[in-house]
Amino acid sequence: MSATENIPRLTRMGRFLRDYPIIPLIILLICLIATLEFLRPGIVNERWIGNTIKFAIPLAMLAACQTLTMLTGGIDLSASVAATISAFVMATQVPIVGAPLAICIGLVPAILIGLVNGFGVAACRVHPLIMTLGTGLIATGCLQVYQRFVIASGSVVPEGLAWLGTGRTWGMPNALLVFVPFAVLIIWAQRRTGFGRLLYALGSNETAARISGVRSWQVYLALYALSGLIAGVAGLIYVGLIKAPSLSLVNPLLLPSVAAAVIGGTSIFGGRGGYAGTIVGALILTVLGTLLTLMQIPEGARRIFFGLIILAVTTVYIKLTDQS
């Protein structure tokens, strides 16, 4: 049986795009930058590149939560809240306990949110979308209550985080010091660790994984806890960048984080994709954001645009992979 011949061109192209999503993505990114340079000559310089990367990093980290959960066919809509809580709790704890301990304390609620998500998804089989939406709602309430207790002590963003968030070395943002090892770790883990492989396995076919002896609840619980932790770290870096902790700090990044993962070639149905594409996706969205601002596109149109991107990409994906 020769399975490789007689395939329509469209299908073959689809397979190519699916196997190497990075290549067309990078081409798209270059096209966008070229358009930008064309519209506003001289805008693309070293400083602009550094800025773009700086703003893309927290987005890419938050999109890591979406990528990992999407590999299993899930999603994490509480990631932005987890990030915000982490940042806010940390910043308000600094005056009380000092920076190092505050950072640790800040990450605790983020992991807790993840554990609750994992419990709901794994044990109660609630759809991740509903579950994470609900925990996000509760967590926002908790944050508001918490704020009233610390309102007097004020908030401080530690020097180190500010240095990471806004500082530059040789023109490149310092946040890369955290992000590059992080990205390498995730990309390595998704292929070369048992846990990473199980994410793909669960998203690809949960029954097959079950037959092979995988206890899916363990994986889901660990996954959502990890997602919470990553969101927390992303929040810390983001507050270092923005330097003003607020109760809705990271919320505007939620929708782009989902879009970045989808654009980056991770299937929202699970089983396919990876973090490398997501990083390019985050860069594309950041450049696109600049472009939309430049063209004075209103916020409403932006949201419509993001929504349609998600819908279009998934539709094309379904059409391309429809094997029947």
């Binding site: 709901g120 109660c124 089989r125 609630v126 759809h127 979308l129 509903i130 579950m131 939406l133 609900g134 925990t135 709602l137 509760i138 926002t140 309430g141 908790c142 508001q144 209550v145 009233r148 929708l255 929202i268 149905f269 209103p298 916020e299 409403g300 149109a301 932006r302 949201r303 419509i304 645009f305 993001f306 929504g307 349609l308 998600i310 819908l311 998934t314 539709t315 379904i318």
Partner: protein
């Protein structure tokens, strides 16, 4: 009698719970009476419509995450159209907004049927699209509601303890739902949610029925948007917390996620329960933020319980 109880046991239980909550409210607030009922009914109105909207698609075996966003679109459209308009035109505007709701819902449904993308993904994308649409129509809270629309839900009719808002809710739901429930379309909606294969084999047009269910969802969402505008007097482009609340009320109301079960009555009773719990917490002068937490926890617990029940039903 026992049969009736068996069939509607869940709703009767919910109603009893609601009655107990009312008793409890009287206990902690002896002055709770007509005005309290009135404010409860008014506060519940948009939630109730959102719940009805969600209930229809869940019965049909789907889900619509864009309910709150569609409400926002309907609300701002109404507010913009009614700003400075006369009574005649404002009535026309209401009809227009209801039509808009039907169209938005039908678009959601058609996209699901045509693209074959799962409902949860399509309506997630459409959540953003409708949210953006609302922002394009009205960038910041503004516009105005026609005075008659504002007054239609204030006060009481016939008896002092029968709030107008409650009557409006019942009439709106009944006008749509009662003739529908026993009609071929209504039965088809239950059928595709209960067992799609059996429905197909019984000759039900699956695609058309699904689009109709989403269109109905849009219609109820539009009513919710109108209720919102009438309550606040302005249009608010940012969607409220209606998505989670409606899912929770639907599950608590005995509509199983996955479809086929339940009706509108249960979810409506459930939505009153959830609102009354919030009101009681406020009456007990609990911090409103803690109220939000408690409310959220109840909702998540209900959804988790619903998830376990749905998993049981499947196996």
């Amino acid at each position: 009698m026992t049969r009736l109880f068996g069939k509607h046991g869940w709703v009767i239980g919910l109603a009893a719970l609601l009655a107990l909550l009312f008793l409890f409210t009287r206990l902690i607030q002896p002055g709770f009476g007509a005005s309290g009922l009135d404010s409860l009914a008014r506060a519940t109105l948009p939630f109730a419509f959102a719940t009805a909207a969600m209930a229809v698609v869940v019965i049909a075996g789907g889900i619509d995450l864009s309910v709150a966003s569609m409400m926002a679109v309907a609300g701002v459209t109404a507010a913009v159209l009614m700003d400075g308009a006369g009574t005649g035109f404002s009535v026309f505007a209401v009809v227009l907004v209801l039509g808009l709701g039907l169209v938005m819902g039908a678009i959601n449904g058609a996209l699901i049927v045509v693209t074959k993308v799962p409902d949860i993904v399509v309506t997630l994308a459409m959540l953003f699209v409708w949210e953006g649409t609302a922002l394009l129509i009205l960038n910041a809270p503004g516009g105005a509601a026609a005075p008659w629309l504002r007054n239609i839900v204030v006060g009481s009719v016939i008896f002092p303890w029968l709030p107008k808002a409650f009557v409006v809710l019942l009439i709106c739901l009944a006008v749509v739902w009662v003739p529908l429930r026993r009609s071929k379309l209504g039965l088809s909606i239950y059928a595709i949610g209960s067992n799609e294969l059996a429905a197909y084999r019984s000759g039900v047009a699956i695609g058309r029925t699904r689009i109709a269910a989403y269109a109905l969802c849009g219609l109820f969402a539009a009513m919710g948007g109108l209720a919102l505008t009438s309550a606040t007097g302005i249009g608010e482009p940012i969607p409220g917390p209606y998505l989670m609340a409606s899912v929770a009320a639907v599950v608590l109301g005995g509509v199983v996620l996955g479809g086929g079960r339940g009706a509108l009555l249960g979810p409506i009773v459930a939505v009153f329960i959830l609102r009354l719990v919030r009101m009681d917490l406020t009456l007990l002068s609990v911090d409103p933020n803690i109220t939000t937490i408690v409310e959220g926890s109840i909702m998540v617990a209900v959804v988790m319980l619903g998830g376990i029940l749905a998993a049981r039903a499947r196996s």
